[in-house]
Amino acid sequence: MESVRITRRPIDPSRVLAAVGDEEAGGTVLFVGTIRLRSEKKTVEGLTYEVYREMAKRRMRDIEARVRKRWPVVRITMVHRYGHLKVGDVSVAVAVSCEHRAEAFEACRYAIDTIKGTLPMWKKERFRGGAQAWVKGTPIGT
């Protein structure tokens, strides 16, 4: 599996986890982001993700480089889905393996936080009853 991926297809977290398996690693952290039923007391049917694919991919590669510079990462894999997702679907998965758990937790946390703040992606909430609205978001970080 490529270490960074942007896909329309469903994400299988067990495959993301398997992709960072390595005999050099003693600690592995997997983060899985899923579509939540409630958003500020409203009931959500699903989310539609839009992405500036080429730039997002470059940014994910940049996140990988930054993570590797900061922590002694053995393997890292990041996958983000786009298109129409429904409640319960996996939108993003990040797996990091390191020699020890402390740096695996830190590196994984940094990777998912940076994905959220710096990828050119947008999501539209589709509410029960048919209403839709773009999630407010934050100015893209660098």
Partner: protein, 81 residues
């Protein structure tokens, strides 16, 4: 010169465009491109203060100079994850 402008999310909704070719004066900056964009699409005024721009996949500041063939993207506040 001509640059390619991409619109995403709310910017796409307000312009009804995914992208367009925009003719600009030679040596125009991102700021000048934004002014031309607002002239063509006045509805974008409501969100323009919150958007950022990328040029050839890198975030650009408003004084950056554009070149013929550049790909400029209009990026509303992001919400990945």
């Amino acid at each position: 010169m001509i640059v390619k402008v991409l619109y995403f999310a709310s910017a796409q909704g307000l312009t009804n465009l995914k992208s367009e070719s925009m003719r600009l004066k030679e040596g125009s900056s991102v700021k000048e491109m934004a002014a031309e964009m607002l002239r063509l699409h006045p509805d974008l005024k409501s969100i323009e203060p919150t958007v950022r721009y990328s040029v050839n996949f890198e975030i650009a500041d408003s004084n950056s100079t554009l070149r013929d063939g550049d790909e400029v993207a209009v990026l509303p506040p992001v919400a990945g994850g």
